[in-house]
Amino acid sequence: MDKAQLAEFVKTLIPDSEIRQGKNYVEVTVPSSALFSAAKILRENEGTSCDYLVNITGVDYATDMAVIYHLESVKHRHMLVLKTRTTGRDNPAIDSVYDIWKSAEYLEREIYDLLGIKFNNHPDLRRLFLDSSWGFPLRKDYVDDINIVSK
């Protein structure tokens, strides 16, 4: 399927999502409560069949945080971008997709460690690089007098 067809197909699968055609890939934005079901549909449906989770990124915007999933299908060789936003910046939480793709274990732990986004139903949500008393460095309001030199 080319990009336009894929966009329409996904819209039929996940009605309450915003589909946008980026320059290279189709972007699907869902609210954070519908994330797990949307991911499951994208994985199990034969037309999309996104069985390879390429990347999960966490981004800190001023008002809330975004989590961006890049999904690829080994069968069809197309890539979809699944985006969601957390509700606010205090105690952000999203459902974990570990049950769908196992590679999410480490990718989500990293986002928890560096940004502070909690993932529900994650098998083992611990800090990864830093120890438990550290803040969340990738946040834009992270202040560290010792390790960061500001001009």
Binding site: D51, Y52, N55, T57, I68, V74, K102, Y106, L128, L130
Partner: protein
């Protein structure tokens, strides 16, 4: 720290815990493995990482785009040129700059040479881990030839910072083509030696065949890319599926096996060295003429938006994801590194093997720890 060990590792009462600490001759780099054993059998492996976490992604938010390549050099230092290529391609795609052919061909040749030298180091250190310490000297002796070529053209041996947004830092040295051709001629003769010493050795085979099997579904689900994934049958070579630079004009095979055990992960890398040599062969004689760098604005500002570029390093798929808000510093840069995701599968495939197999398996995944920690 105690809670971390207790809560995550101990299963039954008979198990005891061994710590293969950050300083260890066999875990290449500062990787700490907390292994829960029952007798000789491994029940659980918990990697503890972060000993070389430098905050590269955070640092990228306060530097300009050409300065990022000096940081990506140091992520997976054995595929330094390929990491740089990823960032450069992302920036060039965002700026919609047309890169001349000469730059693409030279980038491809340098990337393939980088891949060969990374696999040479893998062979050397894997042989040493298995106990055949002679392999270390033979592998590094041959790797020196590539490093000398790099030094002449780029000024550095390992951390070269050769690719930059817009092209290359310097033009290639006049000796470059001859030296690369001489190296190819020499290495093609020497590679069967590697097979004779290690690949065909009965002891080596009995230690690696059927050890640490990774099935195809698991490889896709855990996202294991690179030679480790291709040995399980996961066709994930970005050079084939999403070609960049000059990969769309060369013919080469993607090395795929279906068994997915340690032996085939090892063999996949040896075969990849041969394929890389074929790629260089096709390109080295016809490097097109042209400029070695495109003139970009002195201050590079990417238009607002998100940009995603995938490249194939020696370890697997590296993705560079740039979120830009129009300034000269990126808003967020995320590097999806292959070793980080490959590490996630270590616990799964080492279950119920012996502790000596843990070394064989961890070595065959070819992890570079700065790549994991960034």
């Amino acid at each position: 720290m105690e809670e971390i060990i207790k809560e995550a590792v101990i299963g039954e009462q008979e198990e005891y815990i061994i710590n293969m600490g950050p300083q260890h001759p066999s875990t290449h780099g500062v990787l700490r493995l907390v292994v829960s054993l029952k007798g000789e059998i491994v029940k659980n492996v918990q990697p503890h990482i972060g000993y070389i976490h430098r905050g590269i992604e955070k640092m990228c938010e306060s530097i300009t785009y050409p300065q990022i390549i000096h940081l990506t050099d140091r992520m997976d230092y054995l595929s330094a040129s390929i990491n740089n290529e990823g960032v450069c391609l992302a920036v060039e795609k965002a700026l919609e700059v047309d890169i001349p052919d000469r730059i693409k061909v030279i980038r491809t040749i340098v990337s393939e040479l980088t891949r060969i030298q990374s696999h040479q180091l893998f062979w050397a250190s894997y042989g040493m881990d298995m106990g055949g310490q002679t392999c270390f000297f033979y592998g590094l002796r041959d790797r020196e030839m590539i490093l000398d070529i790099f030094e002449e053209t780029m000024g550095g041996r390992m951390l070269v910072s050769y690719n930059c947004p817009g092209g290359l830092m310097y033009d290639i040295h006049p000796n470059f083509q001859n030296r690369v051709k001489a190296f190819l001629k020499y290495f093609r003769k020497v590679l069967p030696e590697y097979d004779a010493i290690l690949t065909g050795n009965v002891i080596f085979k009995s230690r690696t065949i059927d050890v640490g099997k990774l099935s195809l579904e698991d490889a896709i689900s855990y996202g294991v890319t690179g030679p480790s994934g291709r040995a399980s049958g996961f066709s994930c070579d970005i050079r084939k599926h999403d070609p960049y630079s000059a990969y769309d004009r060369v013919k080469f095979n993607e090395v795929l096996y279906s068994e997915g055990d340690t032996y085939h992960r090892y063999c996949a890398r040896i075969e990849e060295m041969r394929e890389s040599m074929n790629i260089i062969d096709q390109l080295i004689d016809n490097i097109p003429e042209g400029p070695y760098a495109v003139k970009l604005k002195p201050v590079i500002k990417l238009p607002e938006g998100e940009y995603f570029q995938r490249v194939e390093t020696a370890r697997g798929e590296l993705d560079v994801f740039v979120v830009s808000d129009g300034n000269k510093n990126p808003y967020r840069v995320k590097f999806r590194t292959p070793s980080f995701v490959n590490l996630g599968v270590l616990n799964h495939i080492t279950k119920d093997f012996k502790i000596a197999d843990l070394i064989a398996i961890a070595g065959s995944l070819d992890l570079v720890i700065p790549d994991i920690d960034r």
